[in-house]
């Protein structure tokens, strides 16, 4: 295992590599074990290098534990907009989630539908490409259109284009109060209609989940005490024809929902389906196992018997990522949804230019 403690040492390690590298942050998110190759750990690159609460900006090295970032933000009453999910419960891992891994997988939680994913909060990045060259993109300011936005391209790239070494993030003020509106007994159709109606109001709903177990439909409001109370009343009234809504004040179940703890330890494979909310009811009707909607229907967590190709059930609606499965299934079905040929040509071209020696193709999710 290689564990450089500086970006230049990491670049040197990439230049000196004589075979595939498996990039690792805290080892909490990778789907399948890497095929082969030397582990290149980013855990040695740690530390918050800049935090300006008054500018809503934080810069940290890629191996910095998310817990360290969360603690620093909490001390100043701030937070990350994209609410990154922690994959440890679902994948049965016990490592330490890092900023690099979070960004490389574009991890985001229920708030993603209104506040964007990790990529929407990333305003700058440093990375080392497959030639062992350190590259910077963006910076530490939130409005920046200088040159191509490689920082966002690297978000969710799962190590295919380079090793992320440092990330700049845009932040949000923290939240004083949370309320959850819940309704029971809605069908998938009725639930999507209700969540959609909620998201069409001006009340800034930051969570919209439907769980067929119950069934229960949950809506989240966040803000100051007075504002949350006002909006909880207004929203319940606006949704009265979509069900009987009761409001509960307090953090609610959102952290567990974010981390998909309801699917922890479950049987079979676990998938994340990203789709248009209006396609969700028909999609869940065709699923072979347990499921739950997030993002107002724009995200479906779905369990399936081991080795089942869930993508066949999608009928063209959205795309599916394999989250939890055996190595054989990851290889057979592909961690990521196959791309149409013209898109795949562009993707392959980018990979070939950023990683000409194919060092990073051992990374899970990246086809060999």
């Amino acid at each position: 295992m290689l564990e450089p403690v500086s970006e230049s040492a990491l670049a040197q390690a990439v230049r000196g590599a004589d075979g595939p590298l498996a990039i690792r942050g805290g080892g909490t998110r990778g789907g399948a074990p890497p095929r082969d190759g030397t582990v290149l750990s980013v855990a040695g690159l740690t530390g918050i290098t800049l935090y300006e609460p008054g500018a809503l900006t934080l810069v940290a090295r890629a191996g910095t534990p998310m817990a360290e970032i969360d603690a620093a933000l909490e001390a100043e009453g701030q937070r990350l907009a994209f609410e990154p999910w922690d994959a440890r419960a679902v994948l049965g891992r016990d490592g330490v989630p890092t900023l690099g891994g979070c960004v490389a997988t574009n991890a985001s939680g229920p708030r993603r539908m209104v506040a964007g994913a990790a990529r929407d909060s990333v305003i700058g990045m440093r990375f080392v490409d497959g030639t062992g060259t350190a590259v910077k993109s963006g910076g530490r300011v939130m409005k920046n259109v200088t040159g191509l936005d490689l920082a966002k391209l690297l978000c969710g790239s799962r190590g295919a284009l380079g090793v992320i070494t440092e990330v700049s993030l845009k932040l949000l003020p923290g939240i004083a109060a949370t309320a959850t509106l819940a309704a029971d007994g809605l069908s998938p159709d009725a639930a999507v209609a209700a969540m959609s109606a909620a998201l069409c109001t001006p009340y800034e709903v930051t969570g919209a989940v439907h769980d067929p177990a119950g069934p229960r439909t949950l809506l989240r409001l966040e803000g100051t005490e007075a504002s949350v109370s006002y909006r909880a009343d207004a929203l319940a009234r606006a949704l009265s024809r979509h069900g009987d809504w009761r409001a509960e004040h307090g953090p609610g179940p959102w952290a567990d929902l974010r981390d998909a703890r309801d699917f922890a330890g479950g049987a079979g494979d676990l998938w994340r389906i990203s789709l248009r909310p209006s396609d969700a009811p028909a999609t869940v009707a065709a699923l072979p196992g347990r499921w739950r909607m997030d993002w107002g229907g724009g995200l479906i967590w779905a369990e399936a018997p081991e080795g089942t190709d869930l993508r066949a059930a999608l009928a063209g609606a959205g795309h599916a990522t394999l989250v939890r499965a055996g190595a054989d299934t990851h290889r057979a079905l592909g961690t990521l949804h196959p791309e149409p040929a013209p898109v795949a040509r562009l993707t392959d071209g980018l990979r070939a230019r950023f990683d000409p020696r194919g060092l990073f193709s051992a990374h899970p999710g990246v086809p060999a």
Partner: protein, 480 residues
Amino acid sequence: MQMPTPDTAILSRRAAVLRRLAAALPEPALISDPAALRTYECDALTAYRCPPMAVVLPGSTQEVSACLRICHEEGVPVVPRGSGTSLAGGALPTADSIILGVSRMTEVLETSLADRIIRVQTGITNLSVSGAVEDDGFFYAPDPSSQLACAIAGNIAMNSGGAHCLKYGVTTNNLLGVTLVLMDGTVVEIGGGHMDAPGLDLLSVICGSEGQLGVVTEAMLRILPRPEGARPVLIGYDSSETAGQCVSDIIKAGILPVAIEFMDRPCIRATDEFSGAGYPDCEAMLIVEVEGSDPEIDEQLGIISQIARRLDPVELRVSGSAEESARIWLGRKSAFGAMGQINDYICLDGTIPVSELPAMLRGIADLSGRYGLEVANVFHAGDGNMHPLILFDANADGELEKAEELGAEILTLCVKVGGCLTGEHGVGVEKRDLMETQFDPADLEAQMRVKDVFDPGWLLNPAKVFPLSVSAGRRGIAAE
């Protein structure tokens, strides 16, 4: 401004190229008359002009594809154009290029409130997108000040922002999918009605690529429900340091205003005289706007006023009605017009870390004194995006060049304090030659690799974004 020498081999084949384009397009879609071409010789950066070889205005993705395929086969450079409102020369032609405009493609293709999305042809103006969903209580968030005229195609190319992006983000945060035509005519569908990319996030490099990667003909945009209401507070201080402190304190207090605008004394004076907005006589003025229901607005404006009062303002005016709000915004919204009336000006667009604001304003004042040119500052303070306006007399010999030199020094200072050359206008030709102040050769090389993949012949939007010396090798290869 240095531009590459026009390729005489291409110019000599002009008639043949135009015949092929004419055959692929309905009649009014090809413009080749020299007088008519003058309309396209520049964009909103009018200091630089060059008529193109011809202009094509296709009416569909298929026609765009046909035009690009022909130009690709003929080795003719193509300059994509939206409405031509670029302040950075992003749509400046070269003499041997074809302008490809999307201005005839203005249809709304689909609106889905259930999915909070709208699909449009990209020639549609920014404001028309909001207009299309207004009756349903929705809007499209990015609001560049040219929104009445600017096209979504250009917004995507430049990753346009606006006054309200502190809360709603810029174009890249509101774009879910595109139909992209590559230089060889290939039509690629990227993204769609869903969130998150299945593989590499190609949208992230397409948005803001300034026409370097392809022509976006259709776009899937996120639309948002309109807030219940919005009201501003006007705050005046006797120093810009204090105003900067106030911005920082508001943000640290956990308030996220939808806009925080800053004006300095020269700007306050000029806009007030122009518009009669009744602005206070002070060094620095903030307009802070918040959204929500009336009680929510009152709560937030109460907290902001409390913070502002602690710093001893010379003026604090909380809007209590739509009329008072309009009056507070009146001067700010006419800032560019007001400046244009007293002088010619260059509008810069650098971004700085908000904490560097006082030092930056001092730096600008020093430079302004050294060059003997007045600089007025108006900018989006919440996100550090500055718009220093350099006032000069275009009729005075050498004054434009002097103003440009001053502009370059100010932008270089933005980079030096941790910011960037352009926050929302784009690089274009205007800031092309300053790119090396912000990026190392390896950074630019990585960006150019992306262009190599999308446009291997380097035919799209020539001589923009990358310094000519840096891209010379690639353009040389392309010319062979």
